[in-house]
């Protein structure tokens, strides 16, 4: 038992560490707030993992086999890596007040492009050729993100419409690339990304960690995070404060495309094939869910990268749990929906207030007061 509680503690420590990464605020009060913000997602994740113990007593066991790290918890992170990546990009997009529905298609396109190039190689294990294929696929993901950003920030199309275009058209594009077939490859360097190990750790976890670190650096070490939050929080005030909001939004969509591209490589590498139809199917919905569970409001503004990572892990842990506790396959989707609904409700302060303090006076809508102030 002691090992298990240790693992739980580790989980907490990780979460706290992340929250500090996200919000390196000097004031102790802010750190308290950040911790508070992630409290519920972390609790849900811990609860979810603990519930597995009932069905799988050895759930938290981690062992090193042939220099590789194995264990159920490791698997959750490993299989959750693509979702973490997509959700990271989605976090920035949602923080600007937008949304990106096209990430699933970008996943498919990038996987297809990489696999196509590799299948054309004379020697599929040739490292430079594989790297070139990866580079081309990632460049394509940047272009696709740029396309979304240009439509939204440049032309002024609503984000949901603009990305819906690529969501639908992108599937077609992926099928064009694969020629309507599933491209199967046999390339060990490419296999490394999704299914390989490096320094005893699954390589996909390392990639997810690296991109998370990149996101944190990009947003919290530069002023990008602040400007994104300002644009998402109050676009007009941001304009009057001199922020070039279009540029900021463009960058968010480009980053989102890039993250989806990396996820696409990972997914196709894991199965050594590219399926234009099914790769990354519905991942945009899971990603949006992960962002919301992580505490970033859909309306934009404040975002939490740590929260998003935890949110993605919650979703992956849920999928894993469904398999391990043996929910019949035909009810898994329904089961997942119920759990997600409960998670979202538990997280909502308004809902908690209503349930736990049923008789408490309803707080007056804050919006009304200023309305009275600017009465005309």
């Amino acid at each position: 038992m002691s090992r298990e509680t240790d693992a739980v503690r580790d989980e907490r420590v990780v979460a706290d560490g992340e929250s500090d990464l996200v919000a390196p605020r000097g004031a102790g009060r802010m750190r308290g707030l950040a911790r508070h913000r992630l409290l519920w997602p972390v609790l849900v994740l811990v609860l979810l993992l603990l519930s597995n113990l009932i069905f799988t007593p050895g759930f938290f066991e981690i062992e090193v086999r042939q220099g590789h790290l194995y264990g159920s918890v490791v698997d959750i992170v490993r299989f959750g890596a693509p979702l973490i990546l997509v959700a990271l990009g989605m976090t920035l997009v949602i923080a600007t007040g937008g949304i990106d529905l096209s990430v699933g298609s970008i996943v498919a396109i990038c996987g297809a492009m990489a696999c196509l190039r590799i299948s054309d190689l004379g020697d599929q294990n040739e490292v430079t050729g594989v790297l070139a294929a990866i580079g081309l696929a990632l460049a394509l993901s940047l272009v696709l993100g740029l396309w979304n950003g240009a439509l939204i920030a440049g032309v002024g199309v609503q984000p949901i419409i603009a990305t819906l275009i690529l969501m639908v058209a992108g599937r077609g594009l992926a099928q064009l690339i694969t020629g309507g077939q599933i491209i199967t490859i046999n390339s060990s360097p490419y296999k490394l990304i999704g299914a390989g190990y490096w320094l005893t750790l699954p390589f996909s976890i390392l990639v997810a960690l690296a991109v998370t670190a990149l996101a944190v650096l990009l947003t919290r070490r530069t002023a990008l995070g602040l400007l994104i939050e300002a644009v998402g929080g109050n676009a007009e005030a941001s304009r009057l404060a001199g922020i070039r909001s279009r540029r900021i939004m463009l960058m968010a969509y480009v980053f989102c495309g890039f993250c989806a591209g990396v996820a696409g490589l990972m997914i196709s590498s894991n199965v050594s094939s590219a399926d234009g139809n099914n790769a990354g199917l519905w991942i945009e919905l899971d990603a949006i869910l992960a962002v919301v569970i992580g505490g970033t409001p859909l309306a934009g503004g404040r975002f939490s990268i740590g929260g998003t990572v935890i949110g993605a892990l919650i979703i992956q842990a849920l999928s894993t749990t469904i398999y391990t506790i043996g929910v019949p396959p035909e009810t898994t989707l329904l089961f997942k929906a119920v759990v997600v609904t409960v998670v979202c409700l538990v997280q909502s302060p308004a809902f908690r207030a209503r349930v736990f303090r049923r008789r408490a006076p309803r707080p007056l809508p804050v919006a009304e007061k200023p309305k009275a102030e600017v009465a005309r």
Partner: protein, 502 residues
């Protein structure tokens, strides 16, 4: 002329919002067949009174009686069914539907659940004829002018056997001809015995169309007057009021302004916002903009800052013509603009005090050059201290601060950009006396250090106390500019009321 018995009486109405008393013991009467103007500056409580009447807000205290019967509406729909209809400032109709559909939406003539389109068009045409309007009822509303849309909104409102018609600033987006057309309709309805509550900021219109005036100030009733007994200057005086609180005396004398201009506007204007005007602000000079709400004060500021694009005239900085097409361009040239709408155009409420303060400076530097954390804390700390922002915690979300402190946060945001011209739009509105005095003192000391300040305020006393020169706006036109020597509030009020600069 008016029936002796009022159709609508509101007595002792009070309404509180958290932290604000929006209405305090306000009374209001409305007689059938008269046009009653409800006047007051921003925040006086006009909108709240209307919303309380139509059931948008609950009444905290007081009685409302319609036709002698006590009533309390649960919402605008119920109010309308009882005969109290409202037409709002922004036309809230569906531009994609036809005129006829808009007029009768929600109560279309039906047979077996299907809409009888011919009957619908006939009814709509009848209603418009009652207003002596000749409009094609099948045309999509979006193709009609704003004035016609306004009339359609009125036709829609009076369809339900209206006894009381509330017009909330119906003329603010109309031009002179359209206003005349609207007034024809109002007079016709008045002759039919409908009681009309009319809210406007245009003084001339009050005198043109209304029989009776009720003035509110700071949520309190100032009084009810017959329009013909009340001179324009008295009306303005009652709306603005004298500053009752004794502000701390500004012991610092205004320093003389330097001769060289910072910014000059030459025939700057924008159609529909403000007529072309000339305005110069010199180094170390405070120029006050006086005028009633909606007179174009804010529009002048926005044009200078590039928040709106001017379609007329040009701007000179240090005598050189410049193009200020965006706020960013204006900021790059040392301009700063502190908007009157703290919540919608100023603060990003979920961000902290520190983040809000550094926002403009960071925007100028661009995302790739973050202000180092230590420098941020030093800057923010200095301004929190200098402006006495309380609580002095830069990590607090800015929405947790009081109005006065939020205003100081905005001031700090612009002061750290070290502007050469600071445009302050109503910087002291809705904040307590202490904070108000501090901000006034700050304006004086900034101008002493050579900053040009354009100071906009609805409070004449304040404008008179701070400004070297005063420009007066009236009905979106700059009608006078005067050097603030021996000028008193009465004289400025006369200019606001009459538009003549003598």
């Amino acid at each position: 002329m008016a029936d002796p018995r009022p159709i609508l009486t509101m007595t002792g109405i009070s309404k509180d919002f958290p932290g604000v008393r929006a209405l305090a013991d306000v009374g209001f009467r409305l007689f059938p067949g008269e046009v009653h103007a409800l006047m007051g500056e921003n925040g006086a409580g006009k909108s709240t009174l209307i919303k309380v009447l139509t059931g948008v807000y609950d009444v905290d205290q007081g009685e409302i009686a319609l036709d002698g019967e006590p009533v309390r509406f649960s919402g605008p729909l119920q109010a309308r069914q009882a005969g109290v209809s409202t037409v709002y400032q922004e036309v809230n109709l569906c531009a994609n539907l036809s005129v006829a559909e808009n007029i009768l939406i929600g109560r279309e003539p039906r047979r077996f659940g299907a809409i009888r389109w011919a009957a619908l068009r006939r009814r709509a045409a009848e209603l418009l004829r009652r207003l002596q309007l000749d409009i094609d009822v099948t045309a999509p509303l979006g193709t009609c002018s704003i004035a016609v849309q306004q009339m359609v909104a009125i036709a829609r409102a009076i369809d339900v056997s209206a006894k009381v018609l509330i017009l909330d600033e119906p003329t603010s987006s109309l031009d002179a001809g359209e206003v005349g057309q609207l007034f024809q309709v109002i007079k016709r309805l008045k002759d039919e015995g409908i009681a009309i509550l009319f809210v406007t900021h245009f003084l001339d219109q009050v005198y043109e169309v209304s029989d009776r005036v009720t003035v509110l100030r700071n949520g309190r009733l100032v009084g009810e007057y017959l329009t013909r007994d009340l001179s324009q200057i008295d009306l303005v005086g009652k709306m603005i009021g004298k500053e009752l609180q004794v502000l701390e005396h500004l012991d610092e004398e205004r320093a003389p302004a330097a001769p060289e201009p910072v910014v000059e506007a030459r025939a700057l204007g924008r159609r529909g916002a403000v007529a072309p005007f000339d305005l110069t602000v010199r180094r170390g000079e405070v120029v006050g903009l006086a005028g009633l709400l909606g007179s174009g004060r804010t529009e002048v500021a926005r044009l200078l800052f590039g928040a709106d694009r001017a379609d007329h005239g040009r701007i000179l900085l240090d005598g050189v013509p410049v193009s200020l097409r965006t706020p960013r361009a204006a900021m790059g040239r040392g301009l700063a603009f502190c908007s009157e709408n703290r919540r919608t155009e100023g603060l990003v409420e979920e961000l902290t005090v520190r983040e809000n303060i550094i926002l403009a400076l960071q925007a100028v530097r661009g995302w790739a050059r973050p202000i180092p954390r230590r420098r941020q804390e030093e800057l923010v700390g200095r301004y929190i201290q200098a402006l006495r922002i309380t609580p002095a915690d830069p990590g607090l979300p800015v929405r947790a601060l009081s109005g006065g402190n939020q205003q100081k946060v905005l001031l700090a945001r612009w002061l750290i950009t070290e502007p050469r011209l600071l445009i302050l739009d109503e910087p002291t509105r809705g904040i307590d006396v202490g904070a108000k005095a501090e901000i006034q003192r700050l304006v004086v000391s900034l101008s002493k250090d050579g900053m040009g300040v354009l100071f906009i305020s609805a409070e004449l006393e304040e404008v008179l106390r701070l400004s070297h020169r005063i420009a007066v706006l009236r009905d979106r036109r700059m009608v006078a500019q005067m050097v603030n020597e021996g000028v008193d509030a009465d004289r400025v009020m006369r200019v606001i009321a009459s538009g003549e600069s003598s």
